[in-house]
């Protein structure tokens, strides 16, 4: 029986209410000392899982969130045996305890912002052409033209980045005083100005939602996507790393890169 893990919870007893998980199997709690891992069993023959199962996974985690502090597992974390599962919990026990304490009574809110990138760029380009620059050109040449074009791109991009930072600071300001922690991802695409995650105390949820209402109603040319409350996906910090996933181990990294290019990993050393 394969074991599918949904999350780590601050509860080591039996779960009273029945919750249904993947493949319509019941969830149960596996204890380790004073914490638990919530799991369900997968059929042995299961070879593939469609990505819409992620919604079932999420449903379980959010159901748990009502009664417990949950550290949600990444989707599709599966173990061969219960012994494997327990050795994992043993390995990360300190990390799990720390995170459960830190995230007790907290929820995550997400906000994505789209800004009019094209309009902003046009404006920057206009300003650029009206300003004098360090490339004075007495005689033109292919090299000079090349440099001029590169320089223009460089300045425009720089201005674009600075404008993005200014805009993000204004938006973030609405939530700064309410959120305990935050993770901001800037310019994931040119138009997606911000992908923000905020860690908020459960008791301040409404305050946070109100802050979003204020932001939404403030005059701007920004588009917003607001979501939450979520389990605290973005605020889990694990300090322990098994050596096989050491991204800063050059040899290991090189093997992974070569594997990406289609080389079979026949040896451990390059």
């Amino acid at each position: 029986m394969k074991i599918y893990a949904y999350g780590i919870i601050d509860f080591h007893n039996k779960l009273e209410e029945p919750i249904e998980g993947l493949e319509e199997k019941g969830i149960y709690n596996v204890s380790y000392r004073d914490i638990g891992v919530t799991v369900s069993e997968l059929n042995e023959e299961t070879r593939e899982i469609t990505d819409t199962c992620i919604l079932e996974h999420e449903k379980v985690v959010e159901r748990l969130m009502i009664n417990f502090t949950v550290l949600p597992m990444r989707f599709l974390t599966v173990f061969n045996t219960q012994e494997d599962l327990l050795s994992m919990v043993e390995f990360y026990y300190e990390d799990f305890k720390n995170n459960l304490q830190r995230l007790f009574n907290k929820v995550e809110f997400g906000m994505k912002v789209i800004w009019p990138a094209d309009t902003i760029k046009k404006r920057i380009i206009d300003v650029y052409h009206k300003t004098k620059h360090n490339i004075s050109v007495s005689i033109d040449s292919p090299a000079k033209t090349f440099v001029k074009e590169k320089f223009e791109k460089h300045i425009i991009d720089k201005e674009f980045q600075e404008e993005a930072n200014r805009c993000i600071a204004v938006v973030d300001d609405y939530f700064n005083k309410i959120a305990v922690e935050k993770k901001l991802k800037r310019l994931q695409t040119e138009s997606l100005l911000l992908n923000a995650s905020y860690l908020v105390d459960k008791d301040r949820q409404n305050e946070f939602k109100q802050a979003f209402e204020q932001l939404k109603n403030a005059p701007s040319d920004l588009k917003f996507l607001f979501s939450g409350p979520w389990p605290c996906y973005n605020f889990i910090t694990l300090t322990k790393k098994p050596s096989s996933v050491d991204y800063f181990n050059t040899e290991d990294m090189l093997n992974r890169l070569l594997a990406q290019q289609g080389f079979a990993q026949e040896r451990n050393s390059v």
Binding site: T46, T50, D51, F75, T77, V78, F79, P231, Y233, L238
Partner: protein
């Protein structure tokens, strides 16, 4: 000895979803696909980002070998049949 469970992105059924459902799925994917408790190592037999394979199939594949073979096949809109 295959230990991997693969994740399939069923693009056809994804496109069938209403906009709101698509937004929901994308938001959930944005979090659960590679955030949360992310652990790797020999005892975890499946992680979500390994071998994300795009297939327009609704048929359950029975072996990992078939998947390996199909990975070399052209994609992007083409309907694939397992051989």
């Amino acid at each position: 000895m295959d230990r991997q469970i693969k994740t399939l992105q069923d693009k056809n059924s994804y496109l069938d979803l209403h906009r709101q459902e698509r937004v929901t799925l994308l938001e959930v994917l944005d979090r659960a696909l590679d955030k949360g408790v992310v652990i790797s190592g020999d005892i975890v037999i499946s992680v979500a980002d390994v071998d994300l394979v795009y297939l327009g199939l609704k048929v359950l594949l029975s072996s990992v070998e078939t998947m390996e073979r199909l990975r070399g096949a052209p994609m992007a809109g083409a309907q694939e049949e397992p051989t």
